[in-house]
């Protein structure tokens, strides 16, 4: 009996030491959109090669990932977490001390809004504002391409439509069934230089690939935007979309287990414009997300070398020139 207690105590003593010397098993999410495949790929490479972790990639989506963290405390790392789409659940998790945010993985953050193609904006400068669009609905094809049901932006856009009385001005609202059809409606319009008006967000492949101009809604008003985020709000208003905070978040448990890795993740950040450029490169070269990851790692070592600690920098010296 005594022996086993001693053994257990020994184990307990040695385990953290082992973990510190060599990082153990780590799970990280990979959301189902293009930019996240790159972020996760870069994080995975650095953790495996620089810190010696054993990384498992968990394919997921924003809400399922947060729910999984809430229910199981897994995965350890949720990256490219669009805070606006998680709702109250994430804040509750933070209050309970289950997760902590590490910083913005995209700076200044995600861009959201209503967009028109730039060639349209150049031809008719009045379309750059929402008032101009509502006065000339036929110039944007008299149709607004709305978000699919179930997306956070759908609620906001619906409220904006109500506040603007968009349909009254002769613009039909088309509710897309999925992000894929929303993207392909934009792609086919831009390719044939037709008018288009719709919601989109970045960094994404379409926004990196096509030259789009954001429609001015007359400035961002925090109070109004927060009101717009609730479905069936009483008095929806008109406000621009703010830059969406896009974070890396880890479980507090993981912070205790792997402080070094957590430190690296907190420094990991991409500029939004750079991410869009990467996505455009990916599309141009018909490359996979993995190849884009490699492209970033091999061409931008000045960016990511700042994230590392000394021992990791040593291990990856061959790539850092």
């Amino acid at each position: 009996m005594r022996k086993s207690i001693l053994g257990a105590a020994l184990c307990a003593l040695t385990l953290p030491a082992v973990a510190q010397a060599d990082c153990g098993e780590v799970s990280i999410t990979e959301m189902n959109w293009a930019s996240n495949a790159i972020v996760t790929g870069v994080a995975k490479f650095i953790m495996e090669e620089g810190y010696g972790c054993d990384v498992t990639v968990v394919p997921s989506d924003t809400v399922p990932a947060v729910t999984s963290v809430a229910e199981n405390g897994e995965p350890d790392i949720v990256t490219e977490l669009w805070l606006n789409s998680t709702g109250e659940v994430y804040n509750q998790l933070e209050e309970q001390g289950k997760v902590e945010r590490l910083g913005k993985v995209l700076t200044p953050g995600g861009v959201e809004g209503w967009w028109i193609p730039t060639y349209l904006a150049e031809e008719h400068p009045e379309l750059k504002t929402i008032d101009g669009i509502m006065e000339n609905p036929e110039l944007v094809g008299a149709r607004f391409n709305n978000c699919p049901d179930g997306w956070g932006c759908r609620v906001v856009s619906d409220n904006l439509i109500r506040a603007l009385d968009l349909e009254e001005s002769g613009i039909e609202v088309f509710n897309h069934g999925s992000g894929e059809t929303l993207a392909s409606s934009m792609a086919s319009a831009v390719q044939s230089e037709e008018p288009w008006l719709g919601y989109y967000w970045g960094p994404t492949v379409p926004l990196g690939k096509y030259d789009m101009t954001k429609v001015d809604m007359g400035g961002y008003d925090q109070a109004v935007h927060e009101r717009n985020m609730n479905a069936d709000t009483d008095n929806p208003g008109v406000s621009d979309f703010p830059a969406a905070p896009v974070l890396t978040s880890i479980t507090t448990d993981f912070r205790e287990r792997e402080p070094e890795v957590a430190d690296m993740l907190s420094k990991m950040t991409f500029e939004t414009a750079h991410m869009s450029a990467l996505l455009a490169w990916m599309d141009e070269n018909n490359a996979s997300a993995e190849e884009t990851t490699v492209y970033f790692l091999s061409n931008n070592s000045d960016i990511w070398s700042d994230w590392l600690n000394d021992s990791a920098r040593q291990k990856l010296a061959a790539l850092l020139n």
């Binding site: 490479f45 090669e49 989506d61 809400v63 399922p64 729910t67 149709r143 391409n145 699919p148 049901d149 179930g150 997306w151 088309f174 509710n175 897309h176 069934g177 999925s178 894929e180 059809t181 392909s184 409606s185 086919s188 070269n285 018909n286 490359a287 993995e290 190849e291 884009t292 990851t293 490699v294 492209y295 790692l297 091999s298 990856l316 061959a318 790539l319």
Partner: protein
Amino acid sequence: MATYDFVFSKLGLQDWCAQDQSTGPMSMKDLLSKSRGETETSQSIWEVPFPSMDNLNEACRAFPQSRELTKGLENGFLSVKDSLSIFLDPLTQPLSWFLDGALYFMLATPWWIIIPLLLLVVQLVTKSWRLVAFVGFSICTLAFIDHYEYAMQTLAIIFVCAFLCVLFGVPIGIAMSRSDTMQRLTIPILDMLQTLPPFVYLIPLIFLFSVTESKLYGIAIILYAIVPVIRLTNLGIRLVDKDVIEAADAFGMTKQQKLYRVQIPLALPNIMAGVNQTIMMSLAMVVIASLVSAPGLGVLVLRGIRNLELGVGLVAGLGIVILAVILDRVTKMSLARINASQKS
């Protein structure tokens, strides 16, 4: 040194290989070996890669990579797309009108006209008051929990698509039953439609048609649901008793008369079973069609999945089950009536 260098040097193609460089981006494998500082060691026989396009490209840079195959397919499709849609667009336009018209009719007409109308149809085809009561109760339940509009959208889509399936499926089935060549040609296509995952043919459809038009999901549903009615019409007519046909011949019936007076009436139970299956399959497709902007209960199911709103998803799923039971009962009951009338 790549594994397949010898192939190109044997064939004397080094010059061709050297002239044109077709290199893809660096792969993860290259990066890993660079970061670990590993130099290439001789390969054992266990590690010989399959001579795939990518592996051959490593030996000879002029050899195309497999990504160029996908790129080529994409470009090929995009170049025929325009001429294809000149032809296909007007051809399929009526489908958009039908769907939009049906949706408009179902939603613009007040509920106190639509519900009795539906019940009247049920009474006419089944002659069963119990079923009418059941259908009335189910629809009122859906309406009571504020799912009336979604359910009616789904019903409208199913009515249009199932009607068109029968309209095209039965003649195709009849043609198949009359000609063995036609049957040989059609069956592989039917097999393909049934085994292709619906998502796969959504991809070319999205490129071919404007995604904001309702015919996109209409075509997807029809392609998926038309198969059983074709198969069972063909089967039903082929299963008509040879003796009966002989008797019809003895009466000196023309081919036309035989078809309309003998074969189709006797095959009707099978055809109706096909119609029943077609309706059920178009209902099954409704959720997937919601991904390409079909309105109805499928949208709610998708929302339930996206936001993990368990309740929304469950209620919408239950709504679909209720619609399925209604449609199944009604078509089965009318099938039973036909069977009974044939026996007597």
